[in-house]
Amino acid sequence: MTDVTEAVPVPLTTRKDWSSDQEVRWCPGCGDYSILAAVQMLMPDLGVRRESTVFLSGIGCAARFPYYMNTYGMHSIHGRAPAIATGLATTRPDLDVWVVTGDGDALSIGGNHLIHALRRNVDITILLFNNQIYGLTKGQYSPTSEVAKVTKSTPFGSLEQPFNPLSLALGAEAGFVARTHDMDRKHMTEVFRRAHAHKGASFVEIYQNCNVFNDGAFEQITGKNVRADMLIPLEHGQPIRFGADGQFGVVMDDDGSVEVVEVASVGEDALLVHDEHKENPGLAFQLSRLSRGPYEPTPIGVFRDVDHAEYGEQMTDQIAAATERRGPGDFAALLRSGSSWTVN
């Protein structure tokens, strides 16, 4: 399957080539539209082939994504896309495998598969649409919903501490961890581009507005008027600084935790310099804890980007090494590998 297209140069494409003929059926105003547009517009730029691109998903609103991409795709079952992607990416290293998931799909029913795909460093790009609510089942709280959230299933308020998706991914030692949001196509595009370029498992959390069941969940930080003061863009090698006039920054305290300060009060040199290539995930983890929720200044961008051996490639290497050592499999010899005897 793999050599069919090798010799042909990657054709020039436009967004239209990457859009399937299926009518997009998300609710009008849903944040998913802008994510879909960002991905469809990015694809022609990546120098990849449609036939070598696969979008996989589980269940949920976000999981309809593959139907709208004119690539190979599979809409599978709830939470299991990372498992399916592991089998695909491991056997087909020639493919670009994307997993589109949501907060319920990835962090609730599929939590186990997510952390293990990250831990193994399977070569997949995971886009997690986090809207902090169950949309497809019409409005129950999700594993990222805030404590005390009142929903259809929590009329007296949710009792559960939410997952911080980035902390979780970093805890699983994911090599590429980033965050973006559905109100900024340019930022999304750059983060997606980086995620795709990373070899091994890439994890991107996208703050996504569900305008029907959890409208405005991120408004306090992503709204056009507040964004400058509430979003902290992370840039590798740069002091972490934000605010309409660059008046805020992030410093690391003696105990290793990080906090937001006014630059004027500490001086520019005291600011923490972002290092996304740090092998130790500690810094990225601290940054992921900087904000307690989308109502405090929140870092966005690439938290961590380090290269580790990729799972499928290692498996292929083991096969190559075994074949070199023992020669290609000899079936007759295999059958005689234990004790065998001849009856005349």
Partner: protein, 636 residues
């Protein structure tokens, strides 16, 4: 020591013998049994084995719970079971004696390690007195052999600590039985040399213990004679002794080679299926990818992902894993992708009897998914048949683009039998027949690809792994339109797709052999089974025939769909007996499908049926028919 003449020591010829090695889980009884089996196989006997061990890795030493046993049946003629009851029991301690003595027929031989029969061990086994002294074993011939002390003595000058030296006592027992049944010693000595290479002390201690056991038999004058079981007349060819799990693993490699599809196993460790993973993980040079997943769901999910990518996707498990995989099987049915699910059945429900055999997952395989979700089912009938059955299951999966369940069980998985080695070229070729381009022309003349456009004959849809330009498509678990494969919620389409999926699986009946009946003219009773009961049914049928009665045997390898002629076959008989290691699952299917008044014979005790149970049940039906005939005669 003895100057007995050659005549007196020349082995006494017997046609078959059943030996059971029993001891603590840590005593190495599985190994002793396995080595005895191998040397018997190399000697040319027909044989069948039955390892029986507890779920605990090391239950408290000396207790009944910790007894591990290995039964082997060797013969100079064709046999099909590990034997109903042992002629010889080797008991390494009181618990092993107590746990197994009830299985022995009167007159059986018991060889005990007398060193282990101290007060403490007797008490742990629950004996109030000493069975060796109180006359309770008077129905048997008992040999008391101080195995521990002779074993320790044999390696004394090596400087091995007594505690370590004692561990070789399984080789002593093996040596003794090897003498008693005139086994060649070289294969075992050679095996010890290879196995313990680099551990010189252990190697030497084991070889000495083995020889000590052999010489003890020869010289101790305890045994009146040794015995010999001549080689069986087997078809000429090369043979190996295989377990069902090894045969299954090799079958997967064969299917991969015959289909030219890379093999991907996604699985999670579970007894008694893990050995398939272990075996396959050794053979990477065949291009085999084994993935030990985070759970059962991921195992099958990854296998399905690999199948989507054009690999031969396989998952292996046992009952509890099947429960967890059911949702993914439903997706595979909806996606219509090839996938093999191997279920090594064990006693259930829940954790049940992890190391014991059962056939109770048949109805789960048939019906254990939500919605109308049929899939083909193939069942292996003997350890070596697992090879063939796996290839057949792969053939169906690939040709019909469907998940297939292959049923084996704990008994087949660990049991062994000699297997005539096949040539790869003689095995069926499997053609993946991948999609090569657009398969449909729109009204306006544009070419496109319909992922659900079916082959009119097989009703299979195209298999189009990513990589080919021009046929990019999306599939999913939502219902899709017949042909184009787009998401479709309308009722008429769902009705059509549901019936098409069912018809596709049902249609496989035309692509499998008719019911294989071992037929005798005039037989009025049919015994029909599936899976691992094959050997016991065959042995029972032979016994009934040896008594001069007529009886037929049929054994189903394809359980969904059934062979086309099965209904006609069943209706030919006045009585149909269905033995199963469950509470009557196949008999229920046969009754429902064919309105046949099948008689169910069931057992769920964690062990395979005995031939005697079959014999009794068949004879009872034959007697009933005779009584009916007599009554008719008197009545007329």
């Amino acid at each position: 020591m003895s100057d007995t003449t050659t005549e007196e020591t020349s082995p006494h010829l017997i046609d078959r013998v059943v030996i059971r090695f029993a001891g603590d889980s840590g005593d190495g009884m599985q190994l002793a049994g396995d080595r005895f089996t191998t040397s018997s196989a190399l000697f040319g006997n027909d044989l069948a084995t039955f390892p029986d061990f507890p779920a605990e890795i090391r239950a408290p030493a000396g207790t009944l719970a910790g007894v591990s046993a290995f039964q082997v049946h060797i013969s100079d003629h064709d046999i099909s079971t590990p034997g109903d009851s042992p002629n010889v029991l080797v008991a390494m301690n009181p618990a092993a004696l107590r746990a197994n003595v009830e299985a022995l027929p009167q007159g059986a031989t018991i060889i005990v390690n007398s060193d282990a029969f101290d007060e403490r061990n007797l008490a742990k086994a629950g004996y109030e007195g000493d069975p060796l002294a109180d006359g309770s074993l008077s129905a048997y011939t008992v040999y008391e052999v101080p195995m521990t002390s002779i074993t320790t003595e044999s390696s004394k000058d090596l400087g091995v600590k007594p505690r370590d030296a004692e561990r070789s006592k399984n080789f002593f027992a093996l040596g003794l039985i090897s003498w008693l049944y005139t086994r060649p010693v070289e294969p075992t000595l050679e095996w010890i040399t290879q196995k313990y290479a680099g551990k010189e002390l252990v190697l030497e201690a084991n070889q000495r213990a083995f020889k000590a056991g052999y010489h003890f038999g020869e010289t101790a004058e305890l045994f009146e004679s040794s015995y010999e079981v001549k080689p069986a007349v087997l078809e000429p060819g090369e043979y190996a002794n295989v377990t069902g799990n090894t045969a299954a693993a090799w079958g997967l490699i064969a299917a991969s080679l015959r289909s030219d599809l890379p093999l991907f196993l996604g699985t999670y460790p579970i007894t008694p299926a893990s050995d398939i993973l272990h075996e396959l993980s050794k053979h990477k040079h065949f291009g085999v990818r084994t993935f030990q997943a985070e759970d059962e769901i991921s195992g099958i999910g990854a296998a399905l992902g690999a199948a989507f990518g054009g690999a031969l996707g396989v998952t292996t498990t046992s009952g509890p894993g099947i429960d967890l995989k059911s949702e993914m099987m439903g997706l595979a049915i909806s996606l219509e992708l090839p996938l093999l699910i191997i279920d090594i059945q064990r006693g259930g429900p829940s954790t049940g009897l992890p190391t014991k055999t059962e056939q109770a997952d048949l109805l789960h395989a048939m019906y254990g998914r939500h919605g109308e979700a049929p899939l083909p089912i193939v069942a292996a009938k003997t350890p070596s048949h697992c090879f063939e059955a796996v290839i057949e299951a792969c053939r169906i999966a690939v040709k019909y683009r469907t998940p297939v369940m292959l049923l084996s069980d704990g008994y087949l998985a660990n049991g062994t039998e000699p297997w005539k080695l096949p040539d790869l070229e003689d095995l069926p070729a499997i053609d993946p027949a991948f999609a090569t381009g657009p398969n449909h022309t729109e009204a306006d003349g544009t070419e496109d690809f319909w992922p659900y456009l079916r082959d009119p004959e097989t009703l299979a849809r195209p298999w189009a792994p990513p990589g080919l330009a021009g046929i990019e498509h999306r599939i999913g678990g939502l219902e899709k339109s017949d042909g184009p494969g787009n998401v479709a919620y309308d009722g008429a389409n769902h009705e059509r797709m549901t019936r098409l999926r069912a018809a596709k699986v049902a249609g496989i009946a035309a692509d499998i052999p008719p019911t294989d009946v071992d037929h005798q003219d005039g037989a009025e009773v049919l015994v029909i089974g599936w899976g691992s009961t094959y050997g016991a049914i065959a042995a029972g049928v032979q016994r009934v025939r040896a008594r001069g009665h007529l009886v037929d045997q049929a054994h189903l390898v394809h359980l969904n769909p059934f062979p086309d002629d099965l209904g006609d076959v069943l209706r030919r008989y006045k009585r149909v007996l269905v033995p199963e290691v469950n509470l009557g699952q196949l008999s229920r299917l046969l009754r429902a499908e064919y309105l046949v008044d099948a008689v169910s014979l069931t057992q769920v005790s964690g062990i395979p049926f005995r031939a005697a149970a079959m014999e009794t049940a068949i004879l009872q039906l034959i007697d009933e028919l005779a009584a009916d005939a007599k009554a008719d005669e008197e009545g007329s």
